[in-house]
Assembly symmetry: C2
Homo-oligomer: 470 residues x 2
């Protein structure tokens, strides 16, 4: 077991820029037998622990949806401070973050020809509203975003672009990744072609009359057109209607506004380390949600999982060497403001490992690292300890969840991805259906076990994990 004092560490940090591999221990075992025995004990104890589910139940029942900058968001911050204090975590604090606050008012979407139908719809996050009297135009139908991008004609001009992009179900979320650009970039591509609005098929894998919201962006050089999503059965109705070969006319009415910048908070709590207390093992989740649903799977589940993991370490009472820090980020959904603020504020504080739980409550099935090559064997050793929980050892191209990803990329810190089974995550993601019942209480302890073991071993490691070579 190699002990490094802070002065030595800072010297090493300076050296990192030149030769990061020198940071990493050579030869010495990364963990003592006692460390590994404790990891085993943590894993087993966590599998019996229902705290994570209790926490998400409490958050969604007492607060519910909590869009960044809203009154409910402020209540969520108070909820988190009270919970973290009552659980006995240390250095509990709320750190101000300036956030973009966007609000959706009433929305209605109607087909007025060839046959009248009222659709189920939601605005996309950051969308502008329609004129007060609404907006009516013929629909220019595109099977997917590629078809829109390929259109060099005038067909979309003066029309409402509709994009019928499908989202494939996948365990790892790749189906979402392939589809989501229709949501993010649809308004830009529509405006570029002179369209007056864009509506998309919800980015989701369900077949419910419930629309999926989510962030979108504008190009400052182009007109900002209202952007909406309709439910998947409604998208299929539009698909059938356009086959009639008659003018398909849609009427939109939407109130939406982006408020002047307002304030929210990252909520932080720690279990202080011992001899390497200045080095941080960060377990993240995000506290905000979209305005729909209760924010249970996104990301109440992660909030419960990382707090419960830290509580496991606290209750075990063993010295941690490094400080384990829980960070509940502000405004992940609509700008990643909390992650950016954190990365700035702590950029000079060495981080041993940065991770986040933000993909629902499904079982962890893979560990992927994003560390210096010399530390890969250590991360693989962690994966082997998690193998009895059904966790595979993945590659070193890990993609930590959104906030953690921002931080890892900005500050060049080592990261970890505990890949959850997201097969049904996009049935409910960013919808009114994101409620407590979508969480299986039986899958949460396995998540807690994984994060507790990762945090413990990262904190206790004789080796710094370092970032991958750029």
């Amino acid at each position: 077991m190699r002990v490094i004092d802070r002065r030595h560490y800072l010297g090493c940090l300076l050296a990192t820029a030149l030769a990061p591999q020198r940071l990493l221990a050579q030869g010495a075992p990364t963990w003592t037998e006692a460390d590994l025995a404790q990891a085993h004990a943590l894993r087993e104890a966590a599998m019996q622990d229902s705290l994570a589910y209790q926490l998400v139940d409490s958050l969604v029942t007492e607060v519910g949806s909590r869009p960044a900058g809203s009154a409910a968001d402020a209540r969520a911050v108070q909820w988190a401070l009270a919970k973290l204090n009552s659980l006995g975590l240390r250095n509990v604090r709320a750190e101000p973050v300036t956030v973009r606050a966007w609000r959706q008012g009433p929305v209605s979407v109607d087909i007025v020809a060839p046959f009248a139908h009222r659709l189920v719809a939601t605005a996309l996050g950051n969308s502008v509203g329609t004129p007060a009297g609404g907006l009516e135009a013929e629909v220019a139908y595109y099977a997917d975003l590629a078809a829109l991008k390929a259109d060099t004609s005038e067909r979309a001009k003066g029309r409402i672009v509709f994009i019928n992009n499908r989202t494939e179900r996948s365990r790892d979320g790749s189906g979402y990744g392939n589809a989501v650009l229709a949501r993010v970039a649809g308004a830009v591509e529509a405006a570029r072609r002179g369209a007056v609005a864009v509506a998309i098929r919800s980015i989701g894998t369900d077949r419910d009359r419930i629309a999926h919201t989510g962030g979108m962006r504008y190009d400052p050089q182009l007109r900002q057109v209202p952007a909406l999503a309709v439910s998947i059965p409604d998208a299929e109705l539009i698909e059938r209607l356009q086959r009639y070969g008659k003018p398909l006319v849609m009427r939109l009415q939407l109130q939406a506004e982006t408020l002047p910048e307002t304030s929210s908070h990252n909520v932080i709590a720690e279990i202080p380390g011992t001899d390497l207390a200045d080095e941080i093992v960060m377990l993240g989740a995000h506290l905000d949600s979209w305005h729909v649903g209760q924010g249970a799977i996104d990301d109440g589940a992660g909030v419960g999982i990382v707090i419960a993991s830290a509580k496991r370490l606290l209750d075990a009472g063993k010295p941690l060497r490094r400080t384990v820090r829980v960070v509940l980020f502000a405004n992940e959904e609509n700008g990643l403001n909390g992650a950016a603020a954190y990365a700035d504020q702590y950029k000079s504080v060495p981080h041993q490992l940065v991770g986040e739980s933000d993909f629902g409550a499904g079982r962890v099935w893979r560990l992927r690292s994003r560390v210096h090559a010399d530390a890969v064997p250590a991360l693989q050793q962690i994966a082997r300890l998690l193998a009895p929980l059904g966790v595979e050892s993945g590659d070193n191209n890990g993609s930590p969840s959104p906030d953690a990803g921002v931080i890892v990329r900005r500050n060049g810190w080592p990261g970890i991805e505990l890949t959850q089974d997201g097969s049904d995550y996009f049935d409910w993601h960013h919808t009114d259906n994101d409620t407590l019942d979508k969480i299986d209480p039986a899958t949460m302890p396995q998540n807690v076990a994984c994060w507790a073991v990762v945090a413990w071993l990262a904190a206790r490691s004789s080796q710094r994990f370092g970032a991958p070579a750029a």
Copy 2:
């Protein structure tokens, strides 16, 4: 093959009241070999027929939801007349029916204490509205209707009664049957105890943030209190909130009204019989829907199935003996007005068999009859012909679907139940989720095959099926 002329039949009809069994042929085979061969051919041809799905697609795409007495209901009648004529059916007509027309305007349900939540809710059919400014009161929580009925205290007085009745999933709909009284009778039981409103957990088997509507009734001796259903995840939220042991306060706002009686139509079409043309084999479905969804499984599916079954018989071109009549009933959902009108209007016309398809688009798995005991072997013979389609032979206590059930009971006519697999029917029943995508196109031809065989053999039978002894 026994041939009976009309005069003979009317004589028999008179005799029926005294000794119904005398109506039934003794000894002679019920069907010729040619009849049975044709039944086999119809069954095989129907299994390749996609017309039923095309019809429900057309109805829900071109009309959508069509509550009785609405403009959409009138469009549905026009749609049906046009389709039935274009398919070549005969005696196509719309017969006026006076219907109760109920309308729901905006509805909002909020929990205001102990924690603020907006719920997803719908009015129950026939509910009165709240006062214009809404209605706010503490909730009196009951786990089920039995708990409310057992309450002899003053607890509900001045409060909003909440009934958390669960609906169990079942293939035959028995779970719905066990739960639905909370919806139908909840307002009466609440009013009897001085409550100001009733809200129920949706009668459904899903876990979507979509509420289930459906009919309810008032007691003319008691106050009419607003009646609503919240989605199942919202009911679970209320269940969690009441465990906090603090006052649980709900605010309701609902616009709803029952309009002066208005007019709709039963739509009827026939394939005229030959020597027994005055006797009717009736295949029913209902044309109306609730105001939510598209009315695809309830009962666009049935409309498609019975029309396609009749079209099979028409296209086969074989003489039918009895007349096969398709009846698309008005206002099944909110009063069974069309069924009652039909039963009155045709009470003197002999009906050989009365059936209805109104349980979605799932496979038929059982044939139950409701005929005279002497005809049971004939019905069992029909069931054996359907066995290759996975149909079991059931008992003679069949319960024909709602409209057919009304007619069978009122007029003492023989009935048939082709029991469909309704395992997922109550996930979507009476909700915005009742859309075309909930129908599996692959299960509809089996339904058409069953009804075509039943109609053919009922029309051709040498035996009258008669009603069960009272």
